[in-house]
Symmetry: C2
Subunit: 298 residues, 2 copies
Amino acid sequence: MTDASPPRPFGRIALIGIGLIGSSLARFIRRDGLADHITVCSRTHATLDTARELGLADSITTDPRQAVEGAELVVLSTPLSAYAAIAEAMAPGLRPGCIVSDVGSVKQCVIRDVGPHMPDGVHLVPGHPIAGTEHSGPEAGFAELFQGRFCVLTPPPGADEAAVQRIVDLWQRAGMTVEVMDAGHHDKVLAITSHLPHLIAYTIVGTATDLEDHLKKEVVRYSAGGFRDFTRIAASDPTMWRDVFLNNRESVLEMLQRFSEDLTALQRAIRWGEGEKLFDLFTRTRDIRRGVIDANQA
Amino acid sequence: MTDASPPRPFGRIALIGIGLIGSSLARFIRRDGLADHITVCSRTHATLDTARELGLADSITTDPRQAVEGAELVVLSTPLSAYAAIAEAMAPGLRPGCIVSDVGSVKQCVIRDVGPHMPDGVHLVPGHPIAGTEHSGPEAGFAELFQGRFCVLTPPPGADEAAVQRIVDLWQRAGMTVEVMDAGHHDKVLAITSHLPHLIAYTIVGTATDLEDHLKKEVVRYSAGGFRDFTRIAASDPTMWRDVFLNNRESVLEMLQRFSEDLTALQRAIRWGEGEKLFDLFTRTRDIRRGVIDANQA
């Protein structure tokens, strides 16, 4: 190259998986010119064709090892259950100094499943950009998805600081506020702020699906009363969420147990007409909403 | 009057209660010129002052009997627990031919609490405009709140057809699709589409409120992952919702029992790593979302 542009932050980037998050990442890397070359890897040919048609890939492959050859940065954006096999397959292609990151919603399992396969000199920096919609697939992505959201990085103890900083910079360029924390702490926090809400939404929409026909047909019609919000959450990608629950089992079960106890207490209050107990809870929960609004998240 | 305008649909309208729904109704009646005179009744002087300042009231009073004197239409928009006492108090002021309606989220209890107090010749037409926000009070209302939503009327058997039609017309003018159904059926449908979702949202936000401090402070920060939607629902008016649960006890407990069984089954699937069960449910629930979108409710 003969022009005077500053060097791009990354030479070659390999994106393994190109769904909602992976394709949004590709779009923003493209938009801001952050890589010389983007390789997209997926096991599905149709997905790769779509990625190329959308202009997200300079090269495409179904082979993880081929995808990561010469890459400075590899980002996994597949369902969590695919991580171990991908890590094993791509390991021989990783060059020293390469950073391997991801976007998964659970973080301890990444260190468990990917960490052991990493060659010496390769830096594992697991990450979780907390952003999404109920839509899936490469067509659903958009470069602004991450704007104004939080991103959590969970590098294992002793991780290379320069490598971590490069991932911090990447997500900050996407408009995110980046936090570094322990993977176990991340998994506990997300169990209550994300995983349990999804589990509950899936459950109540499922309960409605099983209603007698004369009720079920009216559930959709009258969904504006609250149910509608749950159907949006419960339309999220089934594979991704299955893997979240299977891989954050302990924290999800712990939060679910607390929730069930609280729900049983409310059930009892309704049965026995204890209006004050209901009123007290319903008043307390308003305060959390104010906190959310103050935090500019609403 | 000497001009040639068509007669207004109602002479005098009395609005008992002037919160989010009552004030939205007042605004739309004003906007469309549907009444000669609006009387607003509340037990709180400050609320009445606000209603007057907002231009929603031609006259104000704390006395339900005085409020309904000469009214062609009376609409109750208070919490459900106030209905019986208001009905008893206003009964002597109701004139024959007057229509008494309401906007409450439970309907069998209206027939139970208000019906017995209605003098001969007064028409009780309970109604439920299914619309709202998480905000409360007369300032929170807006005339367009009802636009594009459903309204359910549950006149008791043998109700005056002309009276029912006038209430159908009123809500249709507000932009609503109006359905007439049995009060018990309404209460069952709304138990799953509205009451249970609110109960669950209140519960999970409460569960988060009770977390250990080191987790709690991060719940707000990372609420974008799903929790945020629940905080909005759980910010709804505490008195109104207490009364909903106390007055639709049987249907809410029935739906809550089904939900709890389904949640326990999912909990078990997570504990034993039964990914297929999770995947199957998460796929089924997507169909309901499609129905909601098709019904133009999203």
